[in-house]
Amino acid sequence: MTRARASRLLLAVGGSGAAILMLLALGGLPRLGDVPHPYAERAVPAALSRHTANVISSVNFDQRAFDTMGEEFVLFAAAVAAVLLLRRFHDEEEDAHDLQYGPRDVWSAANLAGFALLAPTMMVGLYVVAHGAVSPGGGFQGGAVLATGLHLAYLAGDYVVLQRLRPVAVFDAAEAVGAAGFVLLGISALFVGDPFLTNWLPTGTLGALASAGMVELFNVAVGMEVASALVLLLAKFLEQALVVRGGGDA
């Protein structure tokens, strides 16, 4: 038996075994909607007591802010590692002769739509970050909108336009500021005599933009970190696809 056939056989046995066990376990699971929610019963009143309309933001940035700090650093570490892996090696060179990369031959309608949508998309991203404590969304979601919205410039124009619009060095620094900002905001609680990451600011009125205290500030720090990390990652992947030439066995 060849190695490929043996691995297929192993997969069939293991896969069907796992499928049968999962099927048997289904009978023992609580039916949809009948699950008791002891955490929700406590998390919702806790969020309301701190005037945070978006309970998910309250869970993420107030009740378990420490976990979110870890999550933020997972993203930070992954972005740094990817940037490290995608750096130029000594046997590769930058193709600098013809910098007119990108979808230059796009339809003029797509071109117009891309540039017309650029500013509104960035506004939506900023709105989602700023209203993270009040309405659905927050730093993670808004940061993703900001980073991908910026790349409309690439889809509608070309690489040179994108390069002018996003100086990589600035986003490099912004990523570090976002990550450090979260920790420093957490440390700020120590100066008023509260434990690390306490929501110590006045929480305002439920539903107002300036409510929920620290949740709003944590959202801004995370939004900055996420947007910069995604911009950096996409910058490195685009550089590999468009600029770096030669080197290695490939």
Binding site: G15, A18, R31, L32, H37, V55, A78, A82, S135
Partner: protein
């Protein structure tokens, strides 16, 4: 009816998980592996969200609804958000590794890559 529909989302989550695993095990390209891994991870989003669902409840955001209205479990929704962010980070890192692999070995077929020892012997 409730017996079947009550467990259907869990069955769908299990099915997505197994299909993703099948894709990873039989893949001929590491980019395909990364996509399948994302698929496996998306089964956990479905699982988490379905655990948090309850009858006649709305989203846990009190922007339009008054406090006191029944809402679905916000804790699992927050966990799903964490799940998505970590999934995105892992995907980016794995794709960066795939680019390195393509550069070093000229192939991204899992069956055709050589180990470091084999490379040193050459």
């Amino acid at each position: 009816m409730h017996e079947v529909l009550g467990v259907l989302p869990y069955a769908v989550a299990a099915w997505i998980l197994l299909v993703g695993c099948y894709g990873i095990a039989t893949s001929r390209s590491f980019i395909h592996v990364v996509v399948c891994l994302s698929l496996v991870q998306s089964s956990t989003y479905l699982m988490l969200l379905m655990v948090g669902w309850s009858h006649h409840a709305t989203a846990p955001v009190f922007a339009d609804v008054k406090p006191g209205v029944p809402v679905v479990d916000p804790v699992v929704q927050a966990l799903t958000l964490t799940d998505i962010v970590v999934g995105g980070a892992v995907t980016a890192l794995l794709l960066a590794l795939t680019i390195q692999l393509a550069k070093r070995q000229g192939s991204i077929d899992p069956d055709r890559i050589r180990s470091l020892e084999e490379e040193l012997e050459e």
